[in-house]
Amino acid sequence: MKKVEIITRTFKLDDIKAALSEIGIKGMTVSEVKGFGRQGGHKEVYRGAEYQVDFVVKVKIEVVVEDARVADVIAAASKAARTGQVGDGKIFVLPVEEVVRIRTGETGDAAV
């Protein structure tokens, strides 16, 4: 099992969710993060004082899948998330050694 972490633009979440659904992914976990990267940030001004805000709000999508499906997930998510502009984000794949479904106690492939 692998965990695929997709860090990308927030407004792409719905598209990615749809793309993953289409290839049969049934579950995922999403959180709001702040990203620092090449994309740069923006300027904010409060009472004449300028602040450079470096981070950009991004969304992080975590999907745990069987090893065999990792490539599909990467392909589907990349396609849905790509705009071609700096800031499209990254996909990281991490090994997962065990998965448990709390409700049933099932483990392994049966649990995702």
Partner: protein, 400 residues
């Protein structure tokens, strides 16, 4: 001159002033959090912009001596001659008090329009449009109805602004949706209100301030003011109930946003009638306001235009219904409507409704096109993605 009336009108003017920040919150709560400041700003800054226009020439255009039924004279330019003594529109209060009471109406009316183009309007274009609109649309409308212009001559009844305030802003709102098109993502993204307690607070302030708006329009602390106060309250109450009842029937649950929206719908509907009807008709007007405005908002979904915060559905439908209902139910303050034996009042009301919509829609459409072609109106897709707060104002509303 009468100190009690003066006190009443001044406090009423303060209450109406407070409605504009109230509207800012009412609207601000309904947009996404990345657009809340820009939305608030479009109301708040009009306290600045329109007030100064009003002092410079707006008041004179609206309330200067009538020029052929069309517009006021320039005699009050820079408020010249508007002083501490009574003016031509009320014998019992200082002319300045009348002027500033009217000023607050001029401020909030264009603020109402902003709901239509929320989340996609550029600030510069907005300021230019509003400046023109006050001079070209609002001042004439105010003159026609309250400044002894042709609508007043015709006998049209508009106690506190069904036509001047609500239909005019709704017609401009409709024109805005035509010229500006939809927000990015309309139809695919969910545009869900980001802070409904803020919206309810705004509605509460609006309701509170509306007592100044409607009862204050009596320009005296008398029985007519008391009557307008009561009709205002009861119409809002009835409309809040009617709206949530419609919701219950339509989707199974009453909502808080529905209660707040309904209250505002009722306040809109009673505005032209408040000083001309008694309490039970006011309740009927409120019920109608709740039902019709709810349906008007639903209609938007069907027709597919993007009036972000339902200016047409609430102020257009509510203002129109109120103007017609005034022709039906008027019975006090030397007026009579259809149900009290005077069918001609209804025709006059219908004529004024048609004229108001036609004039305000066309004039607003031209102004929007003009500003669009010169200064520009619409934020591009990327600006909308970042949010108008950052794109237009370099600010973020909330920090964790």
């Amino acid at each position: 001159m009468n100190a009690a009336d003066t006190a009443f009108v001044l406090i009423s003017a303060a209450l109406v002033m407070f409605m504009t920040p109230g509207l800012a919150l009412f609207y601000g709560g309904m947009v996404r959090s990345k657009n809340v400041l820009a939305t608030i700003m479009q109301s708040f800054i009009l306290l600045g912009l329109v007030s100064i226009i009003w002092a410079v020439c707006g008041y004179s255009l609206a309330f200067g001596t009538d020029q052929g039924g069309i517009i006021g004279s320039l005699e009050y330019l820079f408020l010249n001659g508007v002083g501490m003594e009574a003016g031509p529109f009320s014998e019992t209060i200082p002319h300045l008090a009348f002027m500033i009471f009217q000023c607050m109406f001029a401020v909030i009316t264009p603020a109402l329009i902003t709901g239509a183009f929320a989340e996609r309007m550029k600030f510069g274009g907005f300021l230019v449009f509003t400046t023109l609109w006050i001079l070209v649309v609002y001042a004439p409308m105010a003159h026609w109805v309250w400044g002894k212009g042709w609508m007043a001559e015709m006998g049209a009844l508009d106690f506190a602004g069904g036509a001047v305030v609500h239909m005019s802003s709704a017609a401009a709102a409709l024109a805005a949706t035509v010229v500006m098109g939809k927000r990015k993502g309309h139809g695919s993204t969910a545009f869900i209100p980001h802070n409904l307690p803020m919206t309810v607070l705004g509605a509460g302030i609006l309701w509170f301030g509306w007592f100044g708006f409607n009862a204050g329009s009596a320009l005296a602390a008398d029985g007519f003011a008391a009557n307008a106060f009561v009709t205002t309250h009861m119409a809002a109450a009835a409309a809040a109930l009617a709206w949530i009842l419609m919701e219950k029937l339509h989707s199974g649950k009453a909502t808080t946003l529905g209660a707040a929206s309904g209250a505002v719908a009722g306040l809109v509907a009673i505005t032209p009638a408040a000083g001309y009807v008694t309490v039970m008709p006011a309740i009927i007007i409120g019920l109608g306001g709740g039902v019709f405005c709810f349906l008007g908002v639903l209609l938007k979904g069907k027709l597919g235009y993007d009036d972000s915060l339902d200016v047409v559905g609430v102020h257009g439908v509510g203002g129109t219904w109120g103007a017609i209902a005034t022709g039906l139910f008027a019975s006090i303050n030397k007026t009579t409507g259809l149900f009290y034996g005077n069918p001609s009042q209804l025709w006059i009301q219908l004529a004024s409704v048609a004229a108001t919509w036609a004039f305000c829609f066309i004039a607003s459409l031209i102004l929007f096109k003009l500003v669009d072609a010169t200064v520009g109106l619409r934020a591009n897709a990327e600006e909308q993605d970042r949010g108008m707060d950052l794109s237009e104002h370099n600010e973020t509303a909330y920090q964790a």
